[in-house]
């Protein structure tokens, strides 16, 4: 642990400070949006959105390197792919509810396939592993601003529309009867999820997005009595998981994403078992 702290102060290790900064900043968005995702039970949609990001990243890299469009950053590709796939899923689930799961599954795989095909045709070698399993250490100073921007957007929208989003998550039908534009709020929620997923892809990679989006919120849900408490707690949990995972991975020279996820998963499992144990003891004999 001390090595990690020493390394953070090392002027040569700015990549580590960037990684920690990005992780902590992004945790705010993860906690807030993750809470909505868990409360509304749409984590499988987040999974599909994250796999579509690879499509966007693949296209962006191809355009950058093969077509010479230098400004088409992979992060931009990921944002576009995420938002478009979120809106497609939202549109389908609002229009034709019974086919929702098919469309989610299809987008999940197609996004991935498109990404791999474009990467295969991109000149030079691109390692899809760092996108699939994340590499927080690749986040540079410039990326930090993008992370901050996405973060601010997700948090701002999530906080400004707190009451209507809560009403829509709690009881969509009742919210509609009160004259709330439920469809708009649902699409807003999916867009927020998409932006957050892009942040997550940078931290833990496409495959493990769902875990870091939902596990902190699920642990927080055991202790919280209100939605904002659940958000605040899950921001804290997420920051602890990210920072802790980063430290352990640095110390043990293991890949960061998986360490973060295993850490989060262990805490979730412990809190669930703890909850069961208390539940059993509280039950009258």
């Amino acid at each position: 642990m001390l090595d990690f702290i020493t390394a953070l102060r090392d002027p040569g290790a700015s990549f580590l400070r960037c990684a920690l900064g990005a992780g902590l900043l992004a945790s705010v968005a993860f906690g807030i949006v993750g809470t909505y995702v868990v409360a509304r039970r749409i984590s499988y949609i987040a999974g599909a959105i994250s796999h579509c990001c690879l499509g966007g990243i693949g296209v962006a890299l191809y355009l950058q390197k093969a077509a010479g469009i230098a400004w088409f950053h992979p992060l931009l590709g990921a944002v576009l792919a995420a938002v478009v796939s979120a809106l497609i899923i939202g549109w389908v689930s609002l229009r034709a509810r019974q086919r929702e799961d098919t469309v989610i599954g299809a987008l999940w795989a197609i996004g991935m396939a498109v990404g791999l095909l474009f990467l295969a045709r991109t000149p030079g070698y691109v390692d899809p592993m760092s996108y699939l399993f994340g590499n927080i250490l690749l986040i540079g100073r410039g990326d930090l601003w993008i992370v901050l921007g996405l973060d601010a957007l997700a948090v701002g929208l999530g906080v400004v529309f707190y009451h209507p989003l809560m009403a829509v998550c709690f009881d969509e039908e009742f919210a509609r009867l009160r004259g709330l534009r439920v469809e708009l709020y649902y699409l807003l929620l999916l867009t927020l999820t998409a932006l957050t997923v892009v942040l997550l892809v940078n931290v833990v990679g496409i495959v493990m997005v769902i875990a870091l989006l939902t596990l902190p919120a699920a642990v927080a849900g055991r202790f919280a009595r209100q939605l904002w408490q659940m958000m605040a707690l899950s921001v804290i949990f997420c920051a602890v998981f990210t920072a802790g995972g980063l430290a352990v991975s640095y110390q043990t020279d293991l890949p960061t994403g998986p360490v973060i996820i295993v850490f989060a998963g262990a805490v979730y499992l412990a809190s669930t078992l703890g909850g069961c144990w208390r539940g059993c003891r509280a039950r009258p004999k």
Binding site: A39, R41, V160, F161, Y162, H163, P164, M166, A167, C169, F170, D171, E173, F174, A175, R176, L177, R178, G179, L180, R181, G221, A224, R225, Q226, L227, Q229, M230
Partner: protein, 254 residues
């Protein structure tokens, strides 16, 4: 001038993907009436409520609520949905749930006003839960949660209260309290309640509507049936049956 009825259905037919759920239903409910809707599962009780709320559109016929199309009358309807449709783990306080009754179309995000907070407080008082505002919904009993949801419906300042199975999952004492609350509310709003529980029907409601694809309204009569008393206990009124709804007639708890 005749008062505009709270609900007016004229020859309403509704079908889910071709399978008729309600056929040729005609019904008028006055502004201070209390009406109970009974019938077998899948008979069309909830369909009837959703037509009144404008969540479903009739295939034939017309639905008017306070003389308006249902979507435009929604602000005047308080609605208690079926109990099972909630996530019991949702982290939310009682006050926040009741405040959802104050959400409206014009509001963009934003906070609730003092008037909204007061209305929520009054609604909680009305269902006997004043002082429960800060409690978490998950900490309450089934009967208390049901009353919170009724308070949410009342926070809308409704002129028509629609209750879908409010006595499911609720013990007898809670049911008794609910009945007292409804009797008070009935002095200023029409009440329509869907239920399985025929004991509840007879004590309070002025009319009973039987829904089994077709719809028939009965007045509740004064006759006390010894058999029904034996089954349910307490003082009950029997429903006058002077028609046959189905081949087997009505069956209690069929």
């Amino acid at each position: 001038m005749a008062e505009t009825p709270a609900i007016e259905l004229q020859n309403v037919t509704f079908a889910y993907n071709g399978a008729p759920a309600l056929e040729d239903a005609t019904l008028s409910i006055g502004g201070r009436e209390s009406v109970c809707v009974v019938g077998p599962n899948g008979g069309g009780k909830t369909t009837l409520l959703k037509l009144v709320l404008g969540l479903l559109k009739p295939v034939h016929g017309s639905v008017r609520v306070f003389g308006l199309p249902p979507e435009r009358a929604r602000a005047r309807i308080g609605y208690l949905p079926q109990y099972s449709s909630f996530d019991p783990q949702f982290p939310v306080t009682v006050q926040d749930v009741v405040l959802m009754g104050r959400l409206g179309g014009a509001r963009w995000g934003g906070r609730y006003s003092a008037a909204d907070q007061n209305a929520a407080g009054r609604a909680l008082e009305e269902v006997g839960l004043s002082g429960f505002g800060a409690r978490a919904l998950t900490d309450l009993s089934g009967g208390q949660r049901q009353r919170v949801l009724i308070a949410r419906a009342l926070a809308c300042d409704p002129h028509l209260l629609l209750l879908d199975e409010p006595t499911a999952n609720v013990d007898v004492a809670a049911e008794e309290r609910l009945f007292e609350t409804l009797a008070q509310l009935n002095s200023r709003m029409a009440i329509v309640m869907v239920t399985h529980d025929l004991g509840f029907v007879a004590r309070f409601f002025q009319r009973v509507v039987c829904v089994n694809r077709r719809l028939v309204a009965h007045p509740t009569s004064e006759i006390t049936g010894e058999i029904i008393r034996d089954i349910y206990g307490g003082d009950l009124r029997m429903i006058r049956h002077d028609h046959i709804c189905s081949d087997q007639g009505h069956r209690i708890n069929a």
